[in-house]
C-alpha cells in the first residue's frame, strides 16, 4: 500500500485565518457530522478512488476517537481493477470499518459487462441500478459520495445535501436552497439524501491534502509498467483474462498510471513516469487532459452526466 507525505501539521495551523485546506477540511467534517447526527441510517459510498480515500480520512477525523458511526458500501460491478479490490479490503480491515459489498446479481445472471454490452448499458445496470438496489435493500436514508463540483458542469450546481425522490431521481430544477452551513436533512419515508462533503474541493486540493496528510491511495495512481491495449484512442489495461484480445490488438508493456479509477475496461491509462506523489502532482499541474476525460462514460455527450444523475447515478 502506498503511503507517503509528511506530517507538517504543526506548521500549518498557525493562529488566525484558516488556510484553504484546513477550511475545506473543517467544512467537510461539519457536513459529515451533520449527516451522522440527522439521519437514521446513513452509509458512506466507498469507490476506492483517491476522493473516497480523502472522504474516508475526513470521516475518521470527524468522529475520532469513536469508530465510524456508519458502514462503508462498495458497489462492485465485478469489473474493477484487482488492485482496487485488494486495497478496499485492506483499508476496511485497517480502520475496522463495516464494509458492505453489493453487486447487481440480476446483471450478473444476464451476463452484463462492458465488453459485451458497452459502457452505457454496463454502467446503468451494474452501477446505477446496483446502487439503487443496495440503498433500497438496506434502507439507507443518506449516502455520502465523494463528488466534487469542479469535476463537471452539472455538479457545479448540485447541493451538498442533494435530495433524491423515492425513485432515487435528482431534479435539478427543484433543488432546496442551501444557505450558510444549514443543511436541510428532512425527508419523507423512502426519500433520501446524497451528501457530498467534498463539494468545494478541487482536484489540486485533493492531491495536496493526500500529500500533506499521508493518505494511502491505490497503487494504480502511480506509474508502473503495465500491460495495455490501445482502443478508441485510450490505453486499456489488461487486468484479467476477460479482456478480449482481437487479432489486431497488441498488448504493450508501457509505463502508465491512472488519473481516475473505475471499471478497468472503461478507464484509460495515461503514459507517465510519475511514480511518486510529488511527481503526480507536478504532472497534474501541467496536465493536458482533464480528469474525467479518462473515463469513457462521459464521452457520449457533454450533458451526459446530468442525464445520469437524473436517473440516480452518483
Amino acid at each position: 500500500m502506498h503511503q507517503e507525505g509528511s506530517n507538517l501539521q504543526e506548521d500549518v495551523m498557525a493562529p488566525g485565518r484558516l488556510d484553504n485546506l484546513r477550511t475545506l477540511e473543517a467544512e467537510s467534517i461539519h457536513i459529515i457530522r451533520e449527516v451522522a447526527a440527522e439521519f437514521r441510517n446513513p452509509v458512506m459510498l466507498y469507490s476506492i478512488g483517491k476522493d473516497s480515500s480523502v472522504l474516508l480520512h475526513l470521516a475518521m477525523k470527524a468522529f475520532a476517537p469513536s469508530r465510524l458511526p456508519f458502514p462503508l458500501m462498495h458497489v462492485d460491478t465485478t469489473w474493477k481493477f484487482r488492485e482496487m479490490i485488494a486495497f478496499r479490503d485492506e483499508t476496511a480491515k485497517r480502520i475496522g470499518a463495516d464494509l458492505i459489498v453489493h453487486t447487481n446479481e440480476d446483471g450478473i445472471r444476464q451476463g452484463i459487462g462492458p465488453f459485451s454490452h458497452g459502457s452505457s448499458v454496463h454502467t446503468h445496470v451494474m452501477k446505477t441500478e446496483a446502487l439503487k438496489q443496495a440503498l433500497d435493500k438496506y434502507g439507507f436514508d443518506a449516502a455520502f459520495g465523494g463528488a466534487r463540483r469542479d469535476e463537471e458542469k452539472s455538479r457545479a450546481k448540485e447541493r451538498v445535501f442533494s435530495f433524491r425522490s423515492k425513485a432515487h431521481a435528482w431534479d435539478p430544477k427543484n433543488q432546496r436552497p442551501e444557505l450558510w452551513n444549514l443543511y436541510n436533512g428532512r425527508i419523507a419515508k423512502g426519500e433520501s439524501i446524497r451528501a457530498f462533503p467534498l463539494s468545494n474541493w478541487t482536484e489540486l486540493d485533493i492531491w495536496q491534502y493526500i500529500l500533506l496528510e499521508g493518505i494511502p491511495i491505490v497503487p494504480l495512481y502511480y506509474a508502473k509498467r503495465r500491460p495495455v491495449v490501445r482502443r478508441d484512442g485510450m490505453l486499456i489495461m489488461v487486468d484479467d483474462e476477460r479482456m478480449p484480445i482481437g487479432p489486431d490488438d497488441r498488448v504493450e508493456e508501457l509505463m502508465v498510471r491512472f488519473r481516475t479509477l473505475g471499471c478497468y475496461p472503461l478507464t484509460g491509462a495515461i503514459e507517465s513516469d510519475a511514480d511518486t506523489l510529488p511527481a503526480i502532482i507536478r504532472e497534474m499541474l501541467i496536465a493536458r487532459t482533464s480528469e474525467r476525460s479518462g473515463r469513457l462514460i462521459d464521452h457520449d455527450d457533454s450533458a451526459s452526466m446530468e442525464k445520469k444523475k437524473r436517473e440516480g447515478y452518483f
Binding site: E10, H30, A37, R149, E178, L179, W180
Partner: protein, 633 residues
C-alpha cells in the same frame, strides 16, 4: 497559476506544493444579469488563470457551435452555465459554484442570476460569500438591479464589494463614463455598511483589467480585478468575537470519554477556559481540545473540533457551548429579516420547522412588521410573503434557543425555515441586531402582558358572551363553537352558568342582587382568562343590560363580543331541557327568568342569532364568519 518547472525534482515539487498549502481561501459572489456579462467574466477568470484544461476547452468549442452567442469566438459563458435547460434558455438560473486558484489564494465563486425572480438564488450564494462582485454594463450604468444586488449583499452581511463596470470597450474605454458610474454608486452605497468598495473598469470579453491591465485604459491606476481579489483583506475578526460552539454530535466511544463535536462558530477557545451551555446556564471549563490535527491548546473560529469538559454537564446536539463571560441570547422570540423562497406564501401563525445552528425547533411568524421592496427599499404592510419577498418579522419558537444577532455572528444569527409537510426549505432568516435591545426591554413587560401570552398562543384573545333565556340554546351553541375553534388550533375555555354556580358561585342564589354578583364574578373570571390569552366563551343567562355592560367594560374595545341567542320563550318552555320551566310554573322555583324575573334583551349585540328553524352548525358558522371578519381568528 505558475506551474512548477517540469524538470523539477520531487523535493522541489514537494516544497512548492507545501508552500501552496498555506494560501487562504476567498469565497465571493458574482451578481449581475446575463446581459452584463457575468458568466463571461467568470469564464475569463477561469480561462486566464489557466485552470481550464485543454480538453474542457475542446469540449467547449464543440458546444459553442450549438449554443454559442458570440460567433466564432469561444463563448466563455458556456464554461459556467451548467444545466442543459439553462443553456438552451441562454440564462443562468441557479447558483453554480466555480473554482480557481492563484499562487496566493484559492477562490470559490458563487455564480448567481441577476433577475428579480431569482432573489433567493442570490441570497443563497451570498450566504457563504465574503465579497460580492456587482456587475454593471458600462453602457447602461446603474440599474434597478444593481441597487437590488447591493441591498441583498448588504442584508446577507457581505462587507466587501467590487463594482465591476463591464463592457467598458463598448463605451470607448471612457474614463468619464467610469467616473460617473462610480460616483453614482458611491453616493448610493453610503447607506450600506461596506468596509471596502472598489470600482474597476473592465472588459470581460477582451480581458482588460480582469487579470491584466491591458493597453486600453492608461488612465486607470487601480488594481485589476484579480489583484484586488488576491489581496483584499476580509478577515472578519472572528477570533476576537465571543466563543460560540453549536454542538453537532456527542462523541462517546466509551465510558471514559465524553466529547462534544462541532465547528467553532465564532471566537477562540483554549484549555482552561470557562464555558457555559447557553440554554441551561451550566458552566464548566475546557479540559481537552481535539482539533483537525490532533490535541491542541486552543482553537479558533471555523475549526472542526471535539471539546472535553472538566465537569459532567449535560449538553447534546442543538446546544450552544459559549464563553461564560459573553453569553448568547437565549429566547423563544426574536425579530428577523426573512427571505421567502417558496412558491407557497408564508402564512403568519402557520407552524414551520426552524433550523438554527444544529438545533431544529418548531416556530411560527407571529407578525410581519413590514415587507421591503428590493428595488426601492420602501416598506409596506403585508399579511403574507410571496416567493422572493423580503420582510422584517417577529418569530415565536416553541422552545428557547441560543442565538446572536446576525450582524454579530453570521453562523449563530442565521436560520432556515422548513415546510413541515413537504420538507422543502421555504425561507431563510437573519436575526436582527437593532431590535434585540428593544426586544429585551419588551421582554420585561412581557412577563405580565396579555399581548405576549396571546402572541405565544398565536391568537387574539376575546370574550364571547352568550346571553339568552334558559333553554334558548346558549350552551349547545357555545359547546359546538368551542369544538370548532379547537379544531382550528385555537386555545379556548368555556364558563358555563350551571358549572360556575356549583363552585365559585355556590354561595349565590337567584335574587336580583345575587344575579348581579354572579355576573360580576363571571365577568372578572372571563377577564383573567382573556388576559391569559384564551378565547373565552361565557354562557350565562345574564338577564340584565347593566351587568352585561359592566362585564363589557372589563375588556378592551372589540374584545367583548355579545352574542344574543334569541329564542322565543314559548319555544324555550317547549324544549325545557332541564325541566326548570315546569318547576317554575308549578311555583317550585322562584325568580326564574322569563317567568317571574325579567329578561332584558340586548339592544345592540355584536351577534344576534335567531335560533328558530336553524340548526346549531349553521349558527356556529355564522359566529365563526363574524370572528374571521373581525380578525379574531
Amino acid at each position: 497559476m505558475r506551474n512548477p518547472d517540469p524538470t523539477a525534482s520531487d523535493e522541489a515539487v514537494r516544497e512548492y506544493i507545501l508552500s501552496q498549502v498555506n494560501k487562504d481561501q476567498l469565497r465571493f459572489l458574482t451578481c449581475g444579469s446575463v446581459d452584463d456579462g457575468k458568466s463571461t467574466l467568470i469564464g475569463r477568470l477561469l480561462y486566464d488563470t489557466k485552470l481550464i484544461f485543454e480538453d474542457q476547452l475542446a469540449a467547449l468549442e464543440r458546444d459553442s457551435t450549438r449554443h454559442g452567442t458570440v460567433g466564432d469566438d469561444i463563448d466563455l459563458a458556456l464554461l459556467v452555465d451548467g444545466l442543459e435547460a439553462e443553456r438552451e434558455q441562454g440564462i443562468t438560473i441557479d447558483v453554480a459554484y466555480r473554482f480557481f486558484a492563484t499562487d496566493r489564494r484559492k477562490f470559490i465563486v458563487a455564480d448567481t442570476p441577476g433577475h428579480e425572480q431569482y432573489t433567493r438564488n442570490m441570497a443563497t450564494g451570498a450566504s457563504t460569500a465574503d465579497l460580492a462582485v456587482l456587475l454593471v454594463d458600462a453602457r447602461n450604468g446603474l440599474m434597478t438591479q444593481t441597487r437590488r444586488h447591493a441591498f441583498i449583499a448588504s442584508l446577507l452581511g457581505i462587507h466587501h464589494v467590487v463594482l465591476a463596470i463591464n463592457k467598458i470597450d463598448l463605451v470607448g474605454y471612457s474614463q468619464e463614463r467610469f467616473n460617473q458610474i462610480e460616483a453614482e454608486f458611491r453616493a448610493f452605497a453610503q447607506g450600506f455598511d461596506f468596509e471596502t468598495l472598489v470600482a474597476i473598469p473592465l472588459s470581460a470579453r477582451y480581458g482588460d483589467n480582469v487579470t491584466a491591465p491591458g493597453d486600453n485604459m492608461p488612465w486607470y491606476e487601480g488594481p485589476t480585478l484579480l489583484e484586488h481579489l488576491e489581496t483584499v483583506e476580509v478577515g472578519r475578526d472572528d477570533d476576537a468575537r465571543p466563543f460560540r460552539f453549536p454542538v453537532q454530535w456527542v462523541n462517546r466511544p466509551n465510558l471514559d470519554f465524553r466529547g462534544f463535536s462541532g465547528t467553532i462558530a465564532g471566537g477562540r477557545v483554549s484549555v482552561g477556559d470557562e464555558v457555559v451551555v447557553a440554554a441551561s446556564g451550566r458552566t464548566s471549563t475546557v479540559k481537552t481540545i481535539l482539533s483537525q490535527v490532533g490535541e491542541t491548546q486552543s482553537a479558533s473560529s471555523g475549526e472542526a473540533v471535539t471539546l472535553v469538559l472538566n465537569d459532567e454537564i449535560d449538553a447534546s446536539r442543538g446546544d450552544v457551548i459559549a464563553a461564560a463571560a459573553a453569553r448568547p441570547d437565549v429566547a423563544d422570540q426574536f425579530a428577523a429579516h426573512l427571505i421567502w423562497m417558496s412558491e407557497e406564501p408564508l402564512l403568519p401563525g402557520r407552524s414551520y420547522l426552524l433550523k438554527i445552528g444544529t438545533r431544529t425547533v418548531t416556530a411560527s411568524v407571529t407578525e410581519i412588521k413590514h415587507k421591503i421592496n428590493v428595488n426601492t427599499f420602501e416598506r409596506a404592510a403585508a399579511k403574507t410573503l410571496e416567493l422572493n419577498e423580503i420582510a422584517f418579522a417577529n418569530l415565536a419558537l416553541t422552545v428557547p434557543v441560543a442565538f446572536d444577532p446576525y450582524e454579530a455572528n453570521r453562523t449563530t444569527g442565521s436560520f432556515i425555515l422548513i415546510d413541515r409537510l413537504t420538507n422543502a426549505t421555504v425561507g431563510a432568516g437573519m436575526v436582527w441586531f437593532a431590535l434585540r435591545r428593544a426586544t429585551n426591554i419588551h421582554w420585561q413587560a412581557l412577563e405580565v402582558d396579555q399581548a405576549a401570552r396571546a402572541q405565544s398562543l398565536g391568537q387574539t384573545p376575546a370574550a364571547l358572551w352568550f346571553t339568552g333565556l334558559s333553554g334558548s340554546g346558549k350552551s349547545t351553541v357555545a359547546s359546538l363553537l368551542e369544538k370548532k375553534l379547537h379544531v382550528r388550533g385555537r386555545h379556548t375555555y368555556t364558563l358555563d352558568g350551571d358549572n360556575v354556580r356549583h363552585g365559585l358561585n355556590r354561595d349565590l342564589g337567584f335574587t336580583d342582587a345575587d344575579r348581579v354578583e354572579n355576573i360580576r364574578r363571571v365577568g372578572e373570571v372571563a377577564r383573567l382568562f382573556v388576559d391569559a390569552g384564551l378565547l373565552t366563551l361565557v354562557s350565562f343567562i345574564s338577564p340584565f343590560r347593566s351587568e352585561r355592560a359592566m362585564a363589557r367594560e372589563l375588556f378592551p374595545d372589540g374584545r367583548f363580543i355579545e352574542v344574543f341567542v334569541d329564542t322565543p320563550i314559548e319555544e324555550c318552555r317547549r324544549r325545557d331541557p332541564k325541566g326548570l320551566y315546569r318547576k317554575a310554573d308549578a311555583g317550585e322555583l322562584r325568580n326564574f327568568t322569563g317567568v317571574d324575573s325579567p329578561y332584558e334583551a340586548p339592544e345592540n349585540p355584536e351577534i344576534h342569532i335567531r335560533t328558530m328553524g336553524r340548526d346549531p352548525e349553521e349558527i356556529v358558522d355564522e359566529i365563526i364568519a363574524y370572528l374571521e371578519a373581525n380578525d379574531l381568528i
